[in-house]
Amino acid sequence: MDPIIANDLMTYGKTVKKDRKTQWFQYVKPYLFLLPAIAIIIFWVYKPLLQTLQYSLYKWSMVPGTQPEYVGLANFTKLFKNKDFIPALKNTVIYIAGMLPFSVVLPLFIAAATHDLAGKAKNLYRALIFVPMIMPPVAVAIIFQWLLHPSNGLVNHLLLTWGITSDNIAFFANEAFAKTMIILISGWKMIGFSTLMFSSALSNIDFQYYEAAKLDGAGSIRRFFDMTLVLLSPTVMLMLMISVLFAGQWSFAYIDLLTTGGPFGSSTNIFYLMYKFAFNDLNVGLCAATATLFFIVFGIIALLMQFLSKKFAFYDN
């Protein structure tokens, strides 16, 4: 071969090699930036998730120094035989449904009603509504415990004085009231956050739509249903999804502090049951089996909600 050509080919080869190297690096570079985030997610989210799936097949008391014992699907059969499991499932659904008025319906109306207020009054109203949100659950629980005490509480005193009831009511120890009280207290805490979300979404709506609608003679109720509600639909769907997926967790603190799942397990939900399996009965396997089932069911619900959200939400862009 002509030495000059050979030399050119070598130089060409080196350039290609160098270019490929640079190209490869350019391709990988963005992923390197993502690496820390991915590593953290894998460590804190996916590893525990896989461990939970693994533990659902073992019997273990979580005590350091002891070895988990493989029991196959026994935890799942034990779970379905547990007397509190089916009631806890039913209650979880009741808590989800019961929270919706407080996380979607009421905040939507409160946000719309306070939106037109001017200046300081608007801030005052919003602050008052938001206050319950920032109160620590333990303090809230103690206050409600005092208010609703069967014999010393203000609520029972008023009910008796006004002649609404003839006997004291043990709100947290009575099957008929315990769940409702938990829903009311968790809901009362939730209104503030949802109202804030709706208020911020309302601020993003172009006021010219309302001007136009007013000119066309649409009344305030018509404007709310035909415009506000439609334009807020993405936020409504978001809050609906958050509420459905998290209602069980929000009520957890109040179940633990006010009823401990009672009376006779009637106010427990799937989260509290998981907690009891793990930390009362020291049965990690049973807890993990519950968590696995819960993960599958709520995963399906989340996917369904996303599908609905895409179908029904109206984006104004």
């Binding site: 979580m62 005590v63 350091p64 014999s151 009672g262 009376p263 009362n280």
Partner: protein, 450 residues
């Protein structure tokens, strides 16, 4: 700059390596500690383990610290030890407020839990799976014998499992019928003559409700221990003798629970949980309350503040049969991680179950002194008990007392929860007592595999 980076990365690698090796080394150290601790018996060796110049810290998980009525007494007990024997020997006890479960989660989290004020009903479970040690395996034999000699044998046997002491009876009481003098007098009854049978109690409760409008009698269905005393008093049992089968749905058992339910159907019972009833009685709105003497000091203060006198009677019985009270309270369960820790724990146990310890426990909390010799000793409790005769009631009941059921290891928490839930449902709702209890009995027998 490069040099700096190298230094930083070296530090990180070294730190990671040491933390990893530390993780790996932990079980081995614990295992060797456990092995050596059982060998150790010699007194001289033990004394040399403690050094006043370098005090060792011991954690004591106590549910009494979580009750407003017991907190100050328990704190006094711990401080008294730290300021005297503790200082002298080199032991510092740190009281940890427990809610009956915190010690469990701390064990799971790998924290060192040294001493637990443990309830009797789940002791077997803890001994089997949570690393609690038998006293005979870790404490010096001669001292153990000397300490145990002062205790009544039935108190000692409570915390013994298969011949070994996994819990030494510590705070201890029987249920007594607390009485609010004012509500009794307002209803024309004599508070110094408490009702002796359940029928008399129900009649008194009805009279009080009619006359004052206040609740006549309180015993929370979720009380967790007195329930068993009611069943025992009527000749019923919770478990059979070899603890293989639940038997509480006998005719006597159902009859006993139906009697208790009569207070609810008559509308004279204080409503709510045990906590609600404590508040109701303290506020002066409940005439009779069947509760542990451990709440005595708190109720005494409430009575003084409310302007009424606190009286007490023995637990009511069925007809002519004397009542069979159960014991409430706790034992001390221990899980030292070294010989030195075991020596430190033993110093604390000797103190709190000694004459001085029980004087504080009885006079400042209200629990029974398990060393009955100090109740007649003017140097310790005689004067106090003479001034607070209600505690004599508690002492009188000791002779008829039966220990609470220790549920078998594996199913302890689950089975006791089923039993309590069924009791709450059958007493506080319209549900049929026999049906609810029979269902619970089947569920527990399923768990027990019989």
């Amino acid at each position: 700059m490069k040099k700096m980076n190298k230094i930083i990365s070296t530090i990180i690698i070294v730190a990671l390596f040491t933390s990893l090796t530390a993780c790996g080394a932990k079980p081995d150290t614990a295992a060797s500690d456990a092995a050596t601790s059982s060998d150790h018996t010699q007194q001289e060796e033990k004394e040399s383990l403690l050094d006043p110049a370098n005090p060792i810290k011991v954690t004591f998980y106590s549910y009494s610290l979580g009750y407003p009525t017991m907190k100050s007494g328990m704190e006094h007990l711990i401080n008294q030890f730290n300021d005297s024997i503790g200082k002298e020997k080199g032991v510092v006890v740190e009281g940890v407020v427990d809610d009956y479960t915190k010690w469990k989660t701390d064990v799971q989290a790998g924290n060192q839990v040294d001493i637990v004020q443990h309830t009797f009903s789940t002791l077997d479970n803890s001994a089997q799976s949570l690393g609690f040690k038998a006293y005979e395996d870790i404490f010096p034999d001669d001292e153990l014998k000397e300490q145990f000699a002062a205790f009544t044998s039935n108190a000692l046997s409570l915390g013994q499992i298969q011949g070994k002491t996994y819990g030494l009876a510590f705070t201890f009481s029987t249920p007594i019928l607390y009485i609010n003098s004012k509500l009794f007098e307002d209803a024309g009854l004599d508070p110094t003559k408490p009702p002796k049978t359940w029928d008399e109690t129900l009649a008194a409760a009805k009279t009080i409700k009619e006359a004052t409008g206040k609740d006549g009698f309180g015993l929370a269905p979720d009380n967790g221990w007195t329930t068993e005393g009611i069943l025992f008093s009527n000749g019923a049992n919770v478990l059979n003798d070899d603890q293989t089968k639940a038997v509480f749905t006998s005719d006597e058992g159902v009859e006993a629970l139906e009697m208790w339910k009569a207070f609810y159907t008559a509308g004279v019972a204080g409503l709510g949980t045990d906590k609600d009833l404590m508040q109701e009685f303290s506020a002066g709105n409940l005439a009779m309350y069947l509760q542990s003497t451990s709440l005595y000091s708190g109720f005494k203060e409430a009575a003084e503040a409310g302007g009424w006198t606190l009286y007490g009677g023995e637990m009511p019985g069925f007809g002519d049969k004397p009542s069979v009270p159960v014991n409430s309270g706790s034992c001390l369960a221990v899980r030292p991680d070294s010989d030195q820790k075991a020596a430190a724990i033993w110093e604390f146990i000797k103190f709190v179950t000694g004459k001085e310890g029980y004087t504080i426990i009885t006079s400042e909390i209200g629990y029974l002194p398990l060393r009955t010799d100090i109740t007649d000793d003017p140097a310790y409790l005689k004067d106090y008990i003479d001034q607070n005769p209600i505690l004599r009631t508690n002492l009188n009941q000791l002779t008829r007392m039966r220990p609470v059921t220790i549920w078998p290891g594996d199913v302890a928490t689950e089975a006791s929860a089923i039993f309590m839930d069924a009791t709450v449902q059958s007493i506080s709702t319209d549900a049929d007592v026999k049906k609810v209890m029979a269902k619970a009995q089947d569920q527990i027998n399923d768990l027990l595999g019989s």
